[in-house]
């Protein structure tokens, strides 16, 4: 089994009565791209801030490369690159190049050539000498990403890295992250953009209201989900009642002109409806995907 790069154990963070993170236990191994999913306000940024020694946990532990990390003991983070927060941390009065050169001063082995190379990686070489304060959100994100990876870290922790980017920018970042992971860098990426995560992540964790609700490979999690059949009919209530007689059916939901059914195949559903004298007007089937799983797991309970 590959080396454990990041581990959190029963991590909690309370802000007064608000339980932002509750008993979060995660394990990330070398070379993985690990997706950290959750709706806005689920506690992703708070959890990441604790991983980076910015916040004191109420209880629980964070270990990076086998070393305990707290705001007072953060030596292990020297091998980490991070992009955290809704807007990337950068100096608006400095140019993109100056921002990178400033961070490079922390690392004696980062050369001027590496600065140029990193600017090119995030496609900012044309705007390298413009003040970062004039950049669009997407460009700021790209500069933040460059600042996170300038020193070739062993672990990259990225909080919503594609925030504010256009589709082409997102695709570039996706391909960049894949290349970095192939070169052995471990990546933890938080996002609420599920398609992004599904495309690049090896494993994912889903959090809701600060709690871990699922963790595993994308295939494992999606595999847990049952396929559903959606039927359009003239009288959905009658169709729902007819389908309730099918013993395979697990769940029926009549919504507008549609009835969504889980547990039975489309053939079984069509046959049952026809037998009951109901003509299906349209039938669609959907396999499980990360998005529907995410929506299912993070749905608000009434």
């Amino acid at each position: 089994m590959k080396e454990l790069v990041l581990k959190t154990e029963n991590l909690k963070k309370y802000f007064g009565h608000i339980h932002a993170v509750e008993n979060l236990s995660l394990e990330v191994r070398r070379g993985e791209i690990f997706g950290f999913l959750g709706p806005n306000g689920a506690g992703k940024t708070t959890a990441i801030s604790m991983m980076l020694g910015l916040l004191y946990p109420t209880s629980g532990t964070v270990e990076v490369f086998g070393q305990r990390v707290t705001p007072q003991h953060s030596q292990a983070l020297s091998r980490v690159g991070a992009l955290v927060g809704a807007t990337p941390a950068l100096f608006p009065f400095l140019s993109a190049r100056n921002n990178l050169e400033l961070v490079a001063k922390m690392y004696p082995d980062v050369t001027r050539q590496r600065v140029d190379e990193t600017l090119a990686l995030v496609r900012l070489e044309q705007d390298a000498n413009r003040p970062a304060g004039q950049f669009s959100t997407g460009m700021k994100q790209r500069l933040g990403l460059a600042m996170a990876m300038i020193h070739k870290p062993d672990l990259l922790i990225l909080d919503e890295p594609t925030n504010g980017m256009d589709p082409a920018g997102m695709r570039d970042v996706r391909s960049l992250l894949r290349t970095l992971a192939d070169s052995g860098i471990t990546i933890v990426i938080s996002s609420h953009l599920l398609h992004e995560i599904e495309l690049i992540c090896d494993r994912v964790a889903v959090v809701k209201a600060g709690r871990l609700v699922a963790q595993g490979t994308v295939q494992e999690l999606v595999g847990q989900q049952t396929a559903s059949v959606k039927v359009r009919v003239e009288v959905p209530a009658a169709a729902a009642a007819a389908l309730a007689d099918l013993r395979q059916v697990k769940n029926i939901d009549a919504n507008g002109a549609y009835v969504t059914v889980q547990g039975a195949t489309s053939q079984q559903i069509i046959a049952q409806l026809v037998a009951k004298g109901i003509i299906p007007l349209e039938v669609t089937t959907s396999e499980g995907d990360l998005e529907s799983l995410f929506l299912e797991m993070t749905a608000e309970t009434p």
Partner: protein
């Protein structure tokens, strides 16, 4: 690592337009004060040496002008206000821009980060004293030449001038560190700036009156402003002329001030207390993005 961090803080500080605007303003004000003063008092067609009054001549010529400049750039004066604004902006904006996380998330120990920032600000304070001293000193050297027809370089005790700069730095410490502490605690430019300037007005104006009204005359001696006065009186020695004796306070006046050594220790002690609070609080702060 401290060296790298100091280099980073120094680079950031000197790439800020604000630092150079403050430097320009202070230097410009001294030029305006001295050159403008002489020009305003001169009469058209009359040589400047004849039209300048003896009292103004004394003020705008060496060595008195150098003593005056060091007083004005000191922490509890014009220079101090500029310095407090700079400190509040430099410290608090890092919270607003979330750039503290840039260093801490790379394993930088918090006390080192704060120490490097403090070091850069002390360097800025030194430059904000030396810069106006050079500009004002050069301007008044030219005025001395114009008014007196010669510039005697021997009228200045240069060793004492260097000590004068050191004294101005010591005087700046409580004001700089109080603003530093408040900007760290409040994480706000307005909070740091308001508290710093408020501290200046309270310790220079309100508090001495209050203490005097309750008969605590001795306590007034140990307020930063009075400790600063005690140190500034030593600047009379910058003059290698009879002026030194004139500017040195008489025994009666001097007794209202703390001994200069005690004053220096007192000012440093204020700084140590404020920095202690700032470092302690910064170490405990939650810095979520």
């Amino acid at each position: 690592m401290l060296g790298n961090l100091f280099d980073i803080e120094k680079t950031k500080l000197f790439k800020r337009l604000m630092f150079w605007v403050e430097m320009g303003l202070l230097c410009g004000l001294f030029l305006l004060y001295y050159v403008g003063g002489v020009v305003a008092s001169s009469h058209p067609g009359v040589p400047i040496s004849s039209s300048t009054s003896p009292s103004l001549t004394l003020l705008v010529t060496w060595p008195r002008s150098l003593i005056e400049i060091l007083t004005l750039v000191s922490g509890n004066n014009l220079g101090g206000i500029g310095l407090m604004v700079l400190v509040a902006v430099v410290v608090a904006q890092e919270y607003q821009w979330n750039t503290i996380s840039l260093w801490l998330s790379r394993g930088t120990p918090r006390p080192l980060l704060l120490a490097a920032r403090l070091g850069a600000l002390l360097l800025a304070a030194l430059l904000l004293i030396v810069g106006p001293l050079i500009v004002g000193g050069t301007a008044t050297a030219i005025l001395t030449l114009l008014i007196q027809g010669k510039l005697d370089l021997n009228v200045v005790n240069y060793g004492q001038l260097a000590l004068g700069v050191t004294r101005s730095m010591i005087i700046a410490l409580p004001y700089l560190t109080f603003t530093f502490m408040m900007a760290t605690l409040t994480r706000s430019v307005a909070g740091g700036m308001g508290a710093g300037i408020g501290f200046l007005f309270v310790t220079e104006g309100v508090l001495p009156l209050l203490l005097l009204s309750v008969g605590a005359d001795k306590a007034v001696m140990y307020l930063p402003g009075m400790l600063a006065k005690s140190l500034l009186q030593l600047n009379a020695a910058i003059a290698n002329t009879s002026l030194a004796a004139i500017l040195t306070p008489e025994a009666g006046q001097a007794s209202a001030l703390a001994d200069p050594t005690v004053a220096a220790i007192g000012l440093v002690l204020y700084a140590v207390i404020f920095l202690g609070i700032a470092f302690y609080q910064f170490q405990r702060q939650d810095l979520s993005a």
